[in-house]
C-alpha cells in the first residue's frame, strides 16, 4: 500500500513538472516569435521537450513497477485469502457434514441421532442447538408413546370390563323375548329395541378393541389354507336374511375352481360381512348387490358391487379412515360404528392383500378385496 501511495505522489510530481516544462517552452516560443535571442530560445524549447521526455520515461517505468507491485500484492492477498478460506472450510466441513448426516437420520425417525460438538464456535453452537432439538424431540416422542400405550391399555381394559354388564343386558333381554307370548306387543317391541342397541354396543366395543389391538400392533391373524369359495358363500349366507328384509337382491358369481387362500377364516369372513353390511345398510330397499370372485393368476379378487346411491369423491377419499361415515342423514338410519372399513383394511393388509373402493355417484359402488392365493406352480415341479 505504501508503494501505491508513493506512486501517487510521484505521479503528482510528474504532472507538476510536466506543466512547468510546458510553461517554460511556451515562454521560450513567445520569446522566439518576438525575435529575442532566437538561438537561445530555440535551445530552450528543445531542452524543455527533452526534459519532458525524460520525465515521461521515468514515470512510465514507475507505473510499470507499481502495477507489478500491485499485481503481486493482489496475488499474494488472494492466495492468502484462499489459504485462509481453505482452512476455514475444512474446519467447518466435518461438523457440517455430521450435521447433514444426523439431520437425515433424525428426519428418518432415528431419534438417537446426535452430533459431536466441535470445530469453530459457529459450528459448535449449531451442533449444540441440533442436539438440544433432537433431545426435545426424543422426550416428546417418549411421552407420546407412553400416552399411546395408556390409551391402548385403557381401551383394552374398558372393552373387557364392559363386556360383563353387556352380557347380562343382552342375555336377559333375550330371555324376555323367549317368553314373547307373555309380553304385550309394546313390551316385546321395547325389548327388541334394548337388544338392537345392545348388539350395536357390542359391535362398537369389538371394533374399538380391534382398533386398539391394531394400534398396539396386537391385531394378529392366524392364517391357514382356506377354501375361498366356501368362505365367500359362508359370508353371503350369513347376510342373506338382512338383504331379504330390505327386499334387496343379493347375487353371487364365484368363478369355479378358485384356489385356496392363506387366510384367517374368521377375519376374512368379518371383512366380507362388513362390506356386505355396508351395502345392505347404505343401499335403498330393492337395490341390487352382487358378490363376484375370480382368480387373477396370483390373487383372488372379491368384488362387492352395489347399484346404490354411490359415494361422493370427497367421502371416497377418506372412506377407510376411522369414524368416516356416510352423510349425516344416512348415518341416522345406518347402525354402523364408522370403524368397520378401517379395521377391514388393516385385516386385509395383514394378509398381504389390498382393499379398495371405487364409486360414481348415482351408479353404485364397488369394494374390491384382493388376497394372495396359494399357487401351486406345476411348471416348477416338472
Amino acid at each position: 500500500m505504501i508503494g501505491v501511495a508513493r506512486f501517487l505522489q510521484q505521479r503528482q510530481d510528474y504532472e507538476n513538472a510536466t506543466a512547468r516544462s510546458y510553461q517554460r517552452e511556451i515562454e521560450a516560443r513567445t520569446r522566439l516569435s518576438q525575435g529575442e535571442h532566437p538561438a537561445a530560445a530555440r535551445a530552450a524549447v528543445i531542452s524543455q521537450q527533452q526534459k519532458r521526455q525524460v520525465l515521461r520515461d521515468e514515470i512510465s517505468s514507475e507505473t510499470r513497477d507499481t502495477a507489478l507491485l500491485v499485481g503481486a500484492g493482489l496475488i499474494a492477498g488472494l492466495t492468502g485469502a484462499a489459504l485462509l478460506f481453505t482452512g476455514l472450510i475444512s474446519s467447518m466441513r466435518r461438523p457440517l457434514e455430521d450435521l447433514v448426516e444426523a439431520s437425515g437420520r433424525l428426519a428418518g425417525g432415528d431419534l438417537d441421532a446426535r452430533v459431536q460438538i466441535g470445530g469453530l464456535s459457529e459450528t459448535a453452537t449449531l451442533g449444540g442447538a441440533f442436539n438440544e432439538m433432537a433431545e426435545e424431540l426424543q422426550r416428546r416422542a417418549g411421552e407420546r408413546d407412553q400416552l399411546d400405550r395408556m390409551k391402548d391399555e385403557f381401551v383394552l381394559t374398558a372393552s373387557h370390563e364392559l363386556r360383563s354388564p353387556l352380557t347380562s343386558v343382552q342375555g336377559f333381554a333375550e330371555l324376555l323375548l323367549l317368553e314373547r307370548e307373555k309380553l304385550s306387543p309394546r313390551q316385546a317391541e321395547t325389548v327388541e329395541v334394548i337388544l338392537d342397541n345392545t348388539r350395536h354396543l357390542v359391535r362398537l366395543l369389538n371394533d374399538l378393541l380391534d382398533l386398539a389391538r391394531s394400534d398396539a400392533g396386537r391385531l394378529t391373524i392366524k392364517p391357514e389354507p382356506t377354501d375361498a369359495t366356501g368362505l365367500i358363500e359362508d359370508a353371503v349366507r350369513t347376510m342373506r336374511a338382512q338383504f331379504d328384509a330390505r327386499a334387496q337382491r343379493l347375487r353371487q358369481e364365484i368363478e369355479s375352481g378358485l384356489p385356496q387362500l392363506e387366510a384367517d377364516r374368521d377375519r376374512i369372513r368379518q371383512v366380507l360381512v362388513n362390506l356386505l353390511t355396508n351395502a345392505n345398510e347404505y343401499c335403498p330397499e330393492g337395490a341390487g348387490i352382487e358378490v363376484k370372485a375370480h382368480f387373477t393368476g396370483a390373487d383372488v379378487e372379491i368384488d362387492v358391487i352395489d347399484d346404490g346411491p354411490g359415494i361422493p369423491g370427497q367421502q371416497l377419499e377418506h372412506i377407510f379412515e376411522r369414524f368416516s361415515r356416510g352423510d349425516a342423514g344416512e348415518t341416522q338410519r345406518v347402525g354402523g360404528t364408522g370403524l368397520g372399513l378401517a379395521i377391514s383394511k388393516s385385516l386385509v393388509e395383514l394378509h398381504g392383500g389390498t382393499l379398495g373402493a371405487e364409486s360414481v355417484v348415482g351408479q353404485g359402488a364397488t369394494f374390491r378385496v384382493r388376497l394372495p392365493a396359494i399357487v401351486h406352480d406345476r411348471a416348477k415341479v416338472t
Binding site: 373387557h160 370390563e161 363386556r163 360383563s164 353387556l166 352380557t167 347380562s168 343382552q170 342375555g171 336377559f172 333375550e174 330371555l175 323367549l178 345392545t198 357390542v202 369389538n206 378393541l209 389391538r213 396386537r218 391385531l219 394378529t220 374368521d266
Partner: protein
C-alpha cells in the same frame, strides 16, 4: 340332559346362565370362584361339563381347571371369557379346554357345544 358345574363371580351372570341352561333341561350347580369349583368336583361323581369363567377372584377358572386336571379329572371344560378369540393365550395348552365362550354369550353356540360334548 347334562349335569353342569357353572362358575362365575357375578351373581347376575350366574342367574342368567343358570336360567337359560335349566330352560334347556340341564341340571346346574353353581360356584362363585375357582376354589369352590375345586371343592365341589369330586373324582367319584364329576359333572358332565364344567362351564368356568376365566377370571374370578381367589382362584380363576383356569387355575381351578389346572388343579383338577392335575388330579386326573378329565371332565370336558368350557371357559367363558370376556376376551375375544385373539387374546386367549396359548399358555392354556395341556388344560384340554374344549372351547372358549366369548362374552356376550351366544347361547345357541353354547347349547350346541354342550350337546356335542355330552353326546356320548
Amino acid at each position: 340332559m347334562a349335569r353342569i358345574l357353572l362358575a362365575d363371580d357375578s351373581e347376575t351372570i350366574l342367574l342368567l346362565l343358570r336360567t337359560r341352561l335349566e330352560m334347556e333341561g340341564h341340571e346346574v350347580e353353581t360356584a362363585v370362584d375357582g376354589q369352590e369349583v375345586v371343592d365341589k368336583v369330586s373324582a367319584a361323581a364329576p359333572p358332565d361339563v364344567l362351564l368356568l369363567d376365566a377370571m374370578m377372584p381367589r382362584k380363576s377358572g383356569i387355575d381351578a381347571l389346572r388343579e383338577l386336571r392335575a388330579t386326573g379329572i378329565d371332565t370336558p371344560a368350557l371357559i367363558v371369557s370376556a376376551h375375544t378369540e385373539g387374546d386367549n393365550g396359548a399358555d392354556h395348552a395341556g388344560l384340554a379346554i374344549d372351547a372358549y365362550i366369548t362374552k356376550p354369550i351366544d347361547f345357541d353356540q353354547l347349547f350346541a357345544k354342550i350337546a356335542e360334548l355330552t353326546e356320548n
